[in-house]
Symmetry: C2
DNA sequence: TCAATATTTCGACAATACTCGAATTATGGA
DNA sequence: TCCATAATTCGAGTATTGTCGAAATATTGA
């Protein structure tokens, strides 16, 4: 993930309403919620909601799938993982970061349980 | 960390220039860099740099300390940890999140190596 | 085909954020 | 004390973002 993409994702989450949407979707799981349900839950005007949903979609943090006449939105967990990996990718410069942030790796790395943060990944 | 604070931190990082500043500070370690060095490294006009530094300071992601006539800025690692903890705090709703994101905890929790994500922490 | 529902797009306005030259404040050394 | 350097604040202009009513599009079921 390049800096520009990361900044775009972070900016997308850096708005109270969008962050609330994203967290609601993260919480509810892969099935997601349809737009109307999100709007109702958070008290948003349809146009406003749509604006934020498309923003989050554009940067890849959520995705929508049509299901009958509803559109269900769900969080893209791997995008979130990538973002977190990006943020923590540099806190292992020597003894810099507190507890060696090896525990915060991207999904794949975490899966393989291999301790990282001591080689090429640290740049 | 409340949603509002998290959104403010994310928004602060959601700007290419500020993200670059923050990452430079994360990389360089706790000693930090003085303002001039940051500006030179990233090619920023003094006023622009100052604007972004104060933004990052205001939300608590960096801090400055005066040292002779320089002001050294350094990343606040615990603020970053808090932010990451906030983002991952909800991906453990049943079998929702991919590899049970227990590995991404806040610093303190990570230190104590106690596996979380199966009780009150899952709000 | 028609009406009802779900969602998005359009358009306009308001608010906020960004940039940067110039002026200002603060510190240290001669 | 005075000058040079480091950094911030001010101010003004430009650009971007957010909000939401109204209109448009899409899907379903009768």
């Amino acid at each position: 993930m390049e800096t520009l993409n990361a900044a775009e994702s972070l900016a997308a989450l850096g708005h109270e309403t969008r962050l609330a949407i994203f967290r609601a979707l993260v919480q509810v799981g892969p099935e997601g919620l349809n737009a109307g349900a999100i709007g109702e839950k958070l008290g948003l005007a349809p146009a406003t909601l749509s604006f934020h949903l498309s923003h989050l979609s554009r940067v890849g943090l959520i995705r929508g799938r049509q299901e009958s006449r509803f559109i269900f939105y769900s969080a893209d967990y791997s995008a979130m993982d990538d973002l977190i990996a990006f943020l923590t990718a540099n806190c292992c410069q020597g003894d810099t970061c507190l507890p060696k942030t090896a525990s915060c790796e991207s999904t794949d790395k975490r899966r393989s349980a291999k301790p990282v943060c001591e080689g090429e990944s640290c740049e």
